[in-house]
Symmetry: D2
């Protein structure tokens, strides 16, 4: 009894340590981007026998996990993913988690990671069991203007394009051209995009432009209003929408003109 | 071709957005604590029929996931968990991830969450399937001195004790005493630790002091050197240790005297 | 000799302490506002016999010191002051001091404070010597959009107006109405702006709207191009401008329409 | 009237901009060091004809300004200065300004700068008027342990020594040896401390070790209890102490053993 009383007192005696927490509130009126990247995914893809250069099961699982993040967390207006990375954009006026950076990024990282394991079998079936729990690291970046945010997404999509073109030629040279990986690397040194397209077309009769959009453009997730949502049912509005995947260009203006509700005005 | 060339150029044009990332390096010579807390675990425990007041399967899964974190990340010298929370302490001189707070906390949150799903079946078997991917949020706190760090761990263990005593009495009143949860809450209003011990002992013949240590003290994970590690095998030293769980008091000095290697000297 | 050699070595041995400095770079593409406030200026104004409710010498000295800040630091596009405070706005694309918050705010605070003492005699003459060195504290706030920045300046100007109206009535009641300060405070409790205007007009025949603009609107400093600057003299452009003081409304759009070059576009 | 009412309302409408301020509280239980450095002091010393290599008037003014900072701000336990820089150390448990970094550093920078101008004439007399207001920039660095803090001060004192020895030889070569500054620079390239001592001694008969301590060691300011302070007069304790200047070694342990009250224990 003596012990438990003192333990009670002890708790208040130790509580001063709470004051060592520091505030990491994100600046208001900025888009909050959380980007996740796979940790040691080179090894992970080897051990789980991912197809080269792209594994559709893996890309599907990434998107499924990202959808889970969008459905569980509030205020994510758009997400973009490619390869083993995914970016989530919180609307600039969001007050979710009081805009605390640490909470936002750990929650995203946690939900994504648990979903990745949870849905693994749905995409990889019984043939390829998950051998160990994978992990992702994350970061938070703030963007003050619509221009900055669009440029961020454009940067990731341009990165997707550059990498996918390279990987497509590289693995075609290896898988169909019979080159070793070292030879393929040597062959591609210094080549421009046009050169790579030419190799694909003239040597392997592959037109890169007709490759699947999911590979060339990555995956963009946005909210779509369900058509049968009736105006009067205000209370259930939140569930009257669903996450929709697109594999289109986000660098040009067309996408943004077709979806004017994703971004809020700069003049706010 | 035109397209791909411009896409290449586009990437460099957009790359300025990288400069919006801000540095979040943790202050040197401070212990870095990452604490995870279950999100909406009240609902999660209901839906997965956790035993009340404590579910040993769930506590085992928490420890297993924490061990996975310690084994995957470098420089965690001690971890402490209770209920649906776990704290991980990086040594004060760690340079892991260049001490970047965002990387450290998202990696911990991710590894823990994926492990929680991965090892679920090992603890809950086939009877209780995992219904949806759970999530945890995290935070980073820095402690400049050994005293501060010990007080942090003491605070969490005192919290464990206070909560566990309350929950033990509360659920005993409900499960064995036939009270409703509202009645049990009313009964306990304003009671001290001594009163709660007395209720358990005089009404239910339960001696709280003999309850399992894992419930009263939580779980402390530290590294233990394997006895057969030979001095000369320097190269494999890192693997010559394993995570060991303790359920002992960390508030007093005895634990720290018995394990003098966990903390580094303040005078560094 | 031994000593000096070891001292040389000592320096490099101690240099690790530099790594404890943390980065405080301001988020890109945001306006950086540094606001200074007088420390203990209530006491300072008493001891230096400032006229009530406004001392024109003191307001002139504040503006002169602010001008000195604008002339010495780069990239300040507008400054606004009232009473014992002054705000300085760095342009959103500024790279001055690599956008390091600590450098920006200490330099502003330092230049302003040394100027305040340096120019004191120019405004207070020989009659009122400076009795001791005054001080100001500062802070940095970031604003991501033009709307936010204008609202910040509007907030300070609205504050100027509200305080000046109150102080004008308060000191008129005391100086001309013969009330004690306690009586004047009591008289004004709960009064609205309209009530205060009415007291001034009906009891003291003062029309608040004709009070000097410097008191009602504060002081706005902006850069003005000198008319005789010739286009070809690119090299000397920087000196071909001077700080110009305005005492006009900055809440409405007119000021911003008349000076379209102060702010940069949101779409950058 | 309409105007003033709307201005009142305007203020509350704009007040949301306050929420853009971010918290910059310094981590608890760390020493807070604010260091000031003269801005463009090379030019400033030229224009004000400072004696080379050291100007005693200028060093005296720096110390006088630093004393003014210690007397006006709370919780500075030690300050160290050399050349055109001064460091101020707040005690690790200080709650002054709620430990807000921006307030601490701007207040130090402001008080120091206004004092520098205020006391100029006391040191430079009528012969050398102050031509324009000088400025200093500042930064904040946190140190978690006594070892780190001592090493910081040692680093600055080692820097003082290294620079002063160089400057002493350099200006002796120029002023007494008749070398141009370019020749002196060339002569000293690659020399060690021992070489510099030798040049001074063998060529100019100067024993560096007997140079004034203020130049070799810089200036350390600490609080000294006044001897006539009576124990019972608790209320006036704060004024019963004064700032005392030392020019002694702070790298070794002797200084700290002689003044055991400057630092607080690490175990707090």
């Amino acid at each position: 009894c003596l012990f438990t009383t003192s333990s009670n007192m002890a708790k208040s005696k130790f509580e001063y340590v709470r004051n060592f927490e520091t505030d990491d509130t994100c600046l208001r009126n900025c888009y909050i981007v959380v980007r996740l990247d796979g940790r040691n995914f080179h090894k992970f893809t080897e051990q789980h026998k991912f197809a080269k250069p792209n594994d559709n099961r893996a890309l599907g699982l990434m998107s499924r996990s990202a959808r889970s993040v969008m459905e569980e967390l509030e205020d994510i207006v758009i997400a973009y993913g490619q390869s083993d990375e995914f970016s989530f954009v919180f609307k600039r006026t969001s007050t979710w988690f009081k805009r605390r950076a640490s909470k936002l990024m750990t929650h995203v990282a946690s939900q994504f990671s648990s979903s990745y394991v949870f849905y693994w079998k749905e995409f990889f079936g019984e043939d390829q069991p998950l051998l160990y729990p994978p992990s992702f690291d994350g970061r938070v970046v703030l963007y003050p203007s619509n221009r900055n945010l669009k440029d961020y997404l454009s940067w990731r999509q341009a990165d997707c394009h550059v990498n996918n073109l390279y990987n497509t030629v590289f693995w075609t040279l290896v898988q169909k051209g019979g080159l070793t990986t070292a030879q393929a690397e040597e062959r591609l040194k210094g080549t421009l995009a046009a050169d790579k397209n030419e190799i694909l077309f003239s040597e392997f009769n592959i037109n890169y432009n007709t490759e699947p959009a999911v590979l060339k453009k990555g995956t963009t997730l946005i909210w779509e209003k369900l058509p049968n949502a009736e105006e009067k049912e205000v209370a259930v509005t939140r569930s009257r929408r669903r996450v929709q995947a697109h594999h289109c260009d986000v660098i040009g203006e067309q996408f943004w003109e077709e979806h004017p509700d994703i971004l809020e005005d700069d003049n706010c």
